[in-house]
C-alpha cells in the first residue's frame, strides 16, 4: 500500500526514510543519544537518565561490506546489517550504545562492536535465559549496574522519581500503539501493515515524548478516515524477530494480503507489554523485560508435561492475536543463523496447525535482493489460502 502523503504519515515517512534525522538534531543541541538493539534494553532507564534511546536499524538495501570485514558472515544478517551501517558511521550522532544479551549473535560480536565504533560509552546488559525468582533478582542487580554506569556517563543521578516518570511515558507510548492496532480489526483494516510498521519504526528513532505525539497524530488521522482506503484480502499475521524494513509487509500487501497483526520485535513483542506502574521501578522493569516480553530467547519451562500444553504456554499470545485480529494465514519469517527463532520452527509449525491457521515459513537473509524470490512464495501462499 502506498502511503497517504498527508499529515502524520508524511512525517512518519520522513523519519522512516531519513532514519535518525531527529536524533542527529538532538545530538547537535547537545543531547545524549544512546543507541540500542533488540527488545531487551530497558529504555525507561535511558529515558530516566535524560538521554534519548535510539533503536539502531539495518537496511536491506545497503549491501553489507565493511561490517563483513570485522564480523563473520555466520552472524544473523539483520544484525550484521546493523553493525555494517554503524561502522559506516550512519549513526555517528550516537553518544553511546547498549547491547543486551539477546542471542549468540549479540553476545559474540560485542567486542567487534565495542572496539569497532568510536563511542565513549558502551554497555552490555546480561539477561537471564530463565524466568524465576532468582533470575528476576539477578536481573534487577544487572539493571542497577546499568543504571550506575549511565549515571557515571551522564554525570547525573537517576532517581526513583525519574524512573517512575519514564515508566509512565513509555507506558503511554504502548497504550497508543495498542490503540493503533485496534484500527486493524475491521475488514479491511483502517490502517495498512506498511503504515503501521513504518510508524512504529519511526517512533523508535524519537524521544519517547515526541514519539507519543507522533502516534497521537497518526491516531487522529486514522480515526478520521471513516472508510478504509484498503481492499479486502486475506488477513495475515507476521511472526518473527526484528522486521525493521517494511518491504516484506509491503510485498504482502501489494500482492493483495492485509497484514493485520504480528509478533515481531518492532511490533507487539516490544510494544504490547507494559511495566507495572507502582512499586519498585527496577523490579517492575525486571519483571517487564524478563517475564512479559515473549521472546524465544527466554526459556519457559514445560509446566504442562505435554507438548501440546507446552506450545500453548509458549506461543499462546499468537493464538490470542490470531483470534483477536481474525487472521486467515501467518507468515513465519526467520533469518538464517538466528538460533533463538530457528530452533522453534518445528514447534511453531505444529502450533499453527492446532490453531488451524495456514502458515508460510520463510528463511531469509535481510536483503532487498531476495524480494523477487519471496514474491513468488508469498503470492503462491495467498493463492493457497485465498
Amino acid at each position: 500500500m502506498s502511503l497517504k502523503q498527508s499529515g502524520a504519515f508524511s512525517t512518519v515517512e520522513t523519519y522512516y526514510n531519513d532514519y535518525g534525522q531527529r536524533a542527529k538534531e538532538l545530538n547537535r543541541e547537545g543531547k545524549k543519544v544512546i543507541g540500542y538493539v533488540c527488545s531487551f534494553v530497558p529504555l525507561e532507564i535511558i529515558t530516566a537518565s535524560g538521554a534519548i534511546p535510539f533503536r539502531v536499524r539495518g537496511s536491506i538495501h545497503e549491501p553489507i561490506t565493511r561490517g563483513d570485514t570485522l564480523l563473520e558472515t555466520i552472524v544473523c544478517p539483520y544484525y550484521r546489517s546493523c553493525f555494517d551501517l554503524s561502522v559506516k558511521e550512519k549513526y555517528a550522532f550516537l553518544s553511546g550504545m547498549v547491547i543486551p544479551h539477546g542471542c549468540d549473535s549479540m553476545v559474540r560480536s560485542f567486542s567487534a562492536w565495542s572496539y569497532g565504533l568510536p563511542l565513549s560509552y558502551f554497555h552490555f546488559v546480561n539477561i537471564p535465559s530463565v524466568c524465576e525468582e532468582s533470575s528476576l533478582e539477578f536481573f534487577g542487580s544487572e539493571l542497577n549496574t546499568f543504571r550506575k554506569s549511565l549515571e557515571k556517563f551522564t554525570g547525573k543521578a537517576i532517581t526513583e522519581e525519574n524512573l517512575d516518570q519514564a515508566i509512565r511515558v513509555h507506558n503511554e507510548n504502548r497504550d497508543k500503539v495498542r490503540a493503533l492496532y485496534e484500527f486493524r480489526k475491521t475488514d479491511p483494516p483502517l490502517i495498512s501493515g506498511t503504515e503501521l510498521t513504518m510508524t512504529l519504526t519511526a517512533g523508535s528513532s524519537l524521544p519517547v515524548e515526541e514519539s507519543n505525539s507522533l502516534f497521537d497524530q497518526a491516531l487522529t488521522e486514522v480515526k478520521g478516515r471513516g472508510n478504509s482506503p484498503l481492499k479486502k484480502g486475506p488477513r495475515i499475521l507476521i511472526d518473527g524477530a526484528c522486521l525493521d524494513n517494511i518491504e516484506l509487509i509491503q510485498l504482502v500487501e501489494e500482492l493483495g494480503g492485509n497484514v493485520v497483526t504480528d509478533t515481531i520485535c518492532n511490533g507487539t513483542r516490544d510494544h504490547f507489554p507494559k511495566a507495572d506502574a507502582d512499586g519498585n521501578p527496577i523490579d517492575a522493569l525486571a519483571h517487564r523485560y524478563l517475564d512479559k516480553i515473549n521472546c524465544p530467547k527466554t526459556y519457559r519451562s514445560n509446566k504442562a508435561g505435554t507438548f501440546e500444553g507446552d506450545i500453548e504456554n509458549r506461543f499462546g499470545d499468537i493464538g490470542t492475536y490470531a483470534r483477536e485480529f481474525n487472521v486467515d494465514g501467518a507468515i513465519l519469517y526467520v533469518y538464517k543463523y538466528c538460533d533463538p527463532f530457528g530452533f522453534e520452527v518445528p514447534a511453531r509449525k505444529v502450533y499453527y496447525q492446532s490453531l488451524n491457521v495456514p502458515l508460510l515459513h520463510l528463511e531469509d537473509i535481510y536483503s532487498a535482493g531476495t524480494m523477487g524470490q519471496l514474491r513468488t512464495r508469498i503470492q503462491a501462499f495467498l493463492e493457497m489460502i485465498g
Binding site: 495456514p358 531476495t370 524470490q373 513468488t376 512464495r377 503470492q379 503462491a380 493463492e383 493457497m384
Partner: protein, 267 residues
C-alpha cells in the same frame, strides 16, 4: 522455455518455445505460433493466465498466477493421486505438497544458486558437449557414477572437464552430476515430508537420468507426465477456465486486456 496451452474442453493446442530471458518477446512469439497452429485469431481467446518466473513480463495476460499454484493444478488434473510435486525448472526447483482434494498445503523453493536448479545440468551438458535431450539416456549407461565433489556449478564444470581429461567417461560424469542435483533436490523437498504419489514435472521431468536418481534417493517411484514441460501452462489454462466459468455463473464481468500481440523484435 516458454509454453502456451490453449484449452477448450480439452487441450486445443500446446506449444513449447525457446528458453531465454527476453521473456516479453518470447511470450509474443510463442503465442503467435500457437494461434497459427490452430488458425485461431487472438480475439478468440476468452481469458489468459500467465505463470512462471516471467509471468509479469507477459504483456497480454489477464491474470498472473504463480507457477506453484499452476503446476499443482495441472498435475492434479493429470494425476489425481498426486500428493508431492517436484517441479524442476531452469531457474529454480519447487516442491509442492497437495492434499486429497488437490489443494496445496505446503511448498518449498530453492534459493538463488544455479547449483540447485536444472541449469546445473544444462551447464555441464554444454561442457561435455552432450545435447540436453541426451544427457538422461547417456547417464543411464553409467556403471560407476563419478563423485562430484564441488557444489558450485562453475567449479563442478571445472571438475568435470579435468576428470574427462583424466579419462573418466562422459556417462559416469553425467551420472555423478545427476546424483549431485538429485541429492540437493531431495534435501530440499524432504522438508515437506514426501508422500506418494510423487510427480516430477518441469523440464527436469524430461531427463530420465535425473528421474532415476531422484527415485533412488527418495526410495520410491516417481511419476512423470507425458509432457512435463507444459503442466504449468496447462494449470494456468485450467485456472483461466475456472475464472471464466465462475464469472459466467455469477454473471460478473471478466476483466481482460486488449488482444494485441506486440511486433516481435528479432535480436
Amino acid at each position: 522455455m516458454t509454453k502456451v496451452v490453449i484449452l477448450n474442453q480439452g487441450i486445443v493446442a500446446s506449444i513449447i518455445g525457446p528458453t531465454g530471458p527476453e521473456q516479453r518477446r518470447l511470450a509474443n512469439r510463442v503465442m503467435e505460433e500457437a494461434l497459427e497452429k490452430i488458425s485461431l485469431s487472438f480475439s478468440d481467446i476468452t481469458f489468459i493466465v500467465s505463470t512462471g518466473y516471467g509471468r509479469i513480463n507477459v504483456p497480454f495476460s489477464d491474470k498472473q498466477i504463480t507457477e506453484i499454484t499452476c503446476h499443482a493444478r495441472g498435475i492434479v488434473h493429470l494425476f489425481p493421486e498426486a500428493r508431492t510435486i517436484i517441479d524442476i525448472g531452469g531457474q529454480d526447483v519447487k516442491g509442492i505438497k497437495v492434499d486429497a482434494s488437490g489443494k496445496i498445503v505446503d511448498f518449498v523453493m530453492n534459493d538463488k544458486c544455479a547449483a540447485g536448479s536444472g541449469r546445473f545440468i544444462e551447464v555441464i551438458a554444454d561442457t561435455l558437449e552432450v545435447p540436453l535431450d541426451q544427457v538422461g539416456e547417456r547417464s543411464l549407461q553409467s556403471r560407476n557414477p563419478a563423485k562430484i565433489s564441488n557444489i558450485c556449478t562453475i567449479w563442478a564444470q571445472q571438475e568435470v572437464s579435468s576428470s574427462l581429461a583424466e579419462g573418466v567417461s562422459v556417462s559416469d560424469l553425467l551420472a555423478g552430476i545427476h546424483q549431485s542435483l538429485a541429492d540437493r533436490i531431495v534435501r530440499m523437498v524432504s522438508r515437506l515430508r514426501v508422500e506418494p504419489s510423487v510427480i516430477v514435472t518441469g523440464g527436469g521431468g524430461k531427463n530420465r537420468g535425473l528421474i532415476k536418481a531422484l527415485s533412488g534417493q527418495l526410495k520410491q517411484e516417481v511419476l512423470v507426465p507425458e509432457e512435463p514441460l507444459i503442466t504449468g501452462a496447462l494449470g494456468a489454462a485450467l485456472m483461466g477456465k475456472e475464472i471464466v466459468e465462475k464469472a459466467r455463473q455469477y454473471n460478473t464481468p471478466l476483466e481482460t486486456k486488449e488482444r494485441i500481440l506486440e511486433a516481435v523484435k528479432i535480436l
